[in-house]
Symmetry: C2
Subunit: 307 residues, 2 copies
């Protein structure tokens, strides 16, 4: 039951050497969710062995080019691969028109159902749910309609102790209810309490994707206690003036949000091309929030199940 | 006096592993000309050390995504670099609307003059000229408005034999006319013939960029004798049916054009993603036209001056 983040691009608005602009893939139980889709995303997928055909949901934070210019090429390649499965794209309003304008009149649309979902970025909403997880938006402050995304794995059923099935000779059809927490009555009317038959389910895992945004404490209640927080860290704190001017965050600010929200781990990214190396970013973040990590193109962060 | 082609992307419509889609840079006397601009072009420039700021002219063959989806990102990065020099984009009609649609209303345009030049793809025309070269279009047959581009270096002036300047004590102001081919009269009225004072100028160099196109012998008179021909070779000849269906060429067809046009060297590219390796492409081409080469991402082909 995987819960793993792959960074496809860790750069800010401009690509810089080996850093492509923003895109990430979250693997939840082998379902892939694409987060933002900057130029080069499909090449990064190929490079890091992410199968584009396995993506059914794309979550776009905002309509700046460095978060969407990879969509036209990705959609074209999916069409050329003769995809038939539907694809859902979630974003602030206006994306469909931008993309449609790139495919001249008379060209036929993609051979698969393509659904655009326009989001209200003013408040947090539940926008997606399946058996494994629920996705919520996180309103961000970037001077343009913009929201992050919060992925919460659902509570899993309690786990059967296999040795108890044999010991009490429990019939197969009774197991689902036991997993849901019910006690079990044997043939003699003897009640075996659930806690003897099952183990606690592992804790649900969670990931919050917060880019692009200026420092914004309003997101803290929404992301409180997530296992993994990706928060943009475009500038070092010595360049705070630039962060303020461009509605971005500094490393220190990202780490302050991580610290105040008591998250498990902070992943940084969206680095400005002004920084050739990132050693100082890591140092600056760890001074505020020790469990900070640099996101880089190809980096993977897996959250393991814990009891 | 450089005349050098760099392949930025050698793939066909879909990127495949290390092959990005079409883009090339021609360096003529340290002026850079960008040919097509597929997704990832700006990353390829960075990777292969091509300075994007040195590009003033972009030549687009046609408006299919795999030849233009890198433009929005490139323009954004040039704007972020605070470019002030003008940029000229040549293409079949319709490009400006497609690109403008990606930059939402209210966002200010690029901070540099951006000139779109719409081309009539039905006939070859001279579309650009400067001190060093002339650029012509090459009508291609791809089922959509499409033209290639022919770059012809201009005749250079004859070269002074330096020892003759000393021998006859030729004054500095007389040299430009001698380089243009005039004889020279010394103080005694003695005429020194030009061929004694100068050497023949090196032959002008030429490059033809032909993509995307089905087999089309009509281009042969236009590209006759060019030093370097880039011709798309999307399919092996065993897949001729696919080439015909999609208005592309096979390797054999590209080599036949090269052979009939008596070009110096054939460079292939725009390979379909169906081919993992390209050994058979090279073999197939060489059987028809021995001086054939595989274009690959990062490959450079320099044409040296010859007398």
């Amino acid at each position: 039951m995987k819960f793993e983040l792959t960074i496809l691009g860790s750069s800010g608005a401009m690509p810089f050497k080996d850093r492509f602009p923003t895109a990430q893939v979250l693997n939840v139980h082998e379902q892939l969710f694409l987060l933002d889709c900057a130029e080069g995303t499909q090449m990064r997928m190929s490079r890091f062995r992410i199968k584009r055909g396995k993506i059914h949901h794309i979550f776009i934070t905002h309509l700046h080019g460095d978060h969407i210019f990879g969509l036209p090429g990705l959609l074209t390649s999916l069409a050329m691969n003769l995809r038939t499965e539907p694809l859902h794209i979630y974003s602030p309003p206006g994306l469909k028109n931008m993309i449609d304008g790139l495919f001249p009149d008379g060209e036929k649309g993609p051979p698969f159902p393509l659904h655009y979902h326009e989001l209200d970025t003013s408040q947090s909403q539940k926008i997606f749910e399946n058996k494994a997880l629920t996705v919520y938006t996180i309103p961000l402050s970037h001077g343009i309609d913009c929201n992050g995304y919060l992925f919460r794995e659902k509570e899993m059923p309690r786990k059967m102790r296999k040795e108890k099935i044999e010991e009490y000779n429990i019939p197969y059809q009774d197991i689902p209810k036991i997993k849901e927490g019910e006690d079990w009555k044997d043939a003699n009317g003897h009640i075996i309490p659930n806690h003897e038959l099952t183990e606690k389910a592992p804790s649900p895992r969670s990931f919050a994707f917060c880019t692009d945004t200026s420092y914004n404490e309003e997101i803290i209640p929404l992301i409180k206690g997530v296992d993994l927080l990706y928060h943009e860290a475009t500038f070092l704190h010595e360049d705070l003036d630039k962060a303020v001017k461009t509605n971005h965050s500094t490393v220190t600010q990202a780490a302050q949000i991580a610290s105040k929200a008591h998250v498990g781990k902070l992943i940084m990214g969206h680095y400005s091309a002004r920084y050739e190396t990132l050693d100082r970013h890591l140092e600056e973040a760890k001074a505020v929030f020790p469990n900070s990590y640099l996101g880089y193109d190809g980096a993977q962060f897996e959250i393991f199940l814990k009891k």
